[in-house]
Amino acid sequence: MEALAEWGRALYEATGINLTILYDQFDQSRFISGIWMTIYLSIISLFFSVIIGVVGAWAQGSPIKAVRWAINGFIVLFRNTPPLVQIFFFYFGISNLLPYVEDADGMRAPLFTNIQWAIISLSLFAGAFNIEIFRSGIEAVPKSTLEAAEALGYTRLGAYRHIVLPLAIRVCLPALNNNLVNLLKTTSLAYAIAVPELLYASKQIWTDAQNVPTMMVVLLLTYVALVGVLVWAMNAWERSMAVPGYGQGRGR
């Protein structure tokens, strides 16, 4: 750690490239917590967006018209509006309509914090796309396969859980992969409601240290690394699910 700080200082003296995050305790800790916040936002929203996708795609096949309309309305709303506007809508719009609660010090506090609003709106945003993605996967499952499940006594839900969804996921993994990468990148919009994620932390650092170009490069490379890890994990998942003679695993 100390050696890294030494190197950072030497680099600054020799080249003028000022990586304060290497030797400045304060900058370093806010940068690292920025990374953690981005990871945190990503993982939680990813989780909820997939749940929304799975449940939404199931509800979309509901025999009840009102349910299908509600889901389609939700998709249109969240797919056809910019994610930044959605975040503002929740944080400035909806938040004000909700009741306030008293926090530990007896102060009036909003029901949800900015971090929670970011998670809610990012989950809904990515979830709307996930519903469509899962639906495309579900549509690729032959009707006859579903019929075989039915003939074995599966209910609609049971067949969805044990047969349709596992098959659908294998078909739509590449699209899901894309959307989740997109979600990770979209967490940077939480910047706009002062969630101290990676972009927000970097911005504070470059404002204080006046090292804008350097931090920009650091920021870009950090996102490249984060997305790289996600893609690697998704690919590993895809490989682990590959089945001989089906979908991606065909011909193995």
Binding site: S144, E147, A148, E150, A151, L152, Y154, V243, G245
Partner: protein, 258 residues
């Protein structure tokens, strides 16, 4: 119940009564009437073959029996349980009636063994160990020992179809429905599947088969039904059916196919 007809539904079934009793069943898809009043009885332990030209409603008829297709009118009793009833307990019916399809329809993401084990575990909530033991025995019975851990994509059509038969049998049905289960197979593999079905029939399983395999029908069936354009034209024991067909349509059909 839409139309109470025939044997009183719900009365305790005894093996002397027909295990399946189809009475005057009608079914239309849109304006097109596929079944125009079909009736047939199946006794326990019988093997019944349904033959007839393409589009005559054979698949539709047997799919009505396990409620994959809802009928418009008439009555279908399976062990005295009315199938044409919105309060029908579908799970209870499908435990009794197994079905094997032309296109096998195995679950491609599960191994042969898992395909056989899935429904008893997921649907009937039976003990996994006990189900696995039974599944292995069933796969041995259909001569697939050694293929337990292969995925459907790694099996031949005939092997897949035998897995499908084992999968159905794992639910311990009283009745098996077979819908042209050899129609998608190579001539060489047809035999291995037919042997399996013949064994089942000989063991006393009640079988209702739609088939184009005339020799098989002749050897295995207790009774043959001939359908054309949504009606049963005639039915008879195989010897009589093949030697002395009475109806012109049957004669023409047999003439083309034999």
């Amino acid at each position: 119940m839409k139309q109470p007809i025939g044997t009183p539904a719900g009365v305790l079934w005894t093996p002397e009564q027909p295990i399946i009793s189809v009475v005057d069943v009608r079914k239309s898809f849109g304006a097109f009437e596929v079944l125009k009043g079909v009736s047939l009885d199946v006794k326990k332990g019988e093997a019944i073959c349904i033959i007839g030209p393409s589009g005559s409603g054979k698949s539709t008829l047997i799919r009505c029996i396990n409620a994959l297709v809802e009928i418009d009118s008439g009555s279908i009793l399976v062990e005295n349980q009315e199938v044409n009833d919105e309060r029908l307990d579908k799970l209870k019916l499908r435990r009794k009636v197994g079905m094997v399809f032309q296109q096998y329809n195995l679950f491609p993401h599960k191994t042969a063994l898992q395909n056989v084990m899935m429904a008893p575990i997921n649907v009937l909530k039976q003990d996994k160990k006990e189900v696995e033991e039974r599944a292995r025995k069933l796969l041995a019975k259909v001569r697939l020992t050694g293929k337990e851990n292969n995925y459907p994509g790694e099996l031949s059509g005939g092997q897949q179809q035998r897995v499908a038969i084992a999968r159905s049998l794992a639910m311990r049905p009283d009745i098996m429905l077979f819908d042209e289960v050899t129609a998608a197979l190579d001539p060489e593999t047809v035999k291995e599947v037919l042997v399996t079905i013949r064994e089942l029939a000989e063991e006393g399983m009640t079988c209702l088969l739609v088939t184009h395999e005339m020799k098989f029908a002749r050897d295995v069936a207790d009774h043959i039904y001939f359908t054309d354009k949504g009606v049963i034209v005639e039915h008879a024991p195989p010897a009589e059916f093949f030697e002395n067909a009475k109806d012109e349509r049957t004669k023409t059909f047999l003439g083309q196919i034999l």
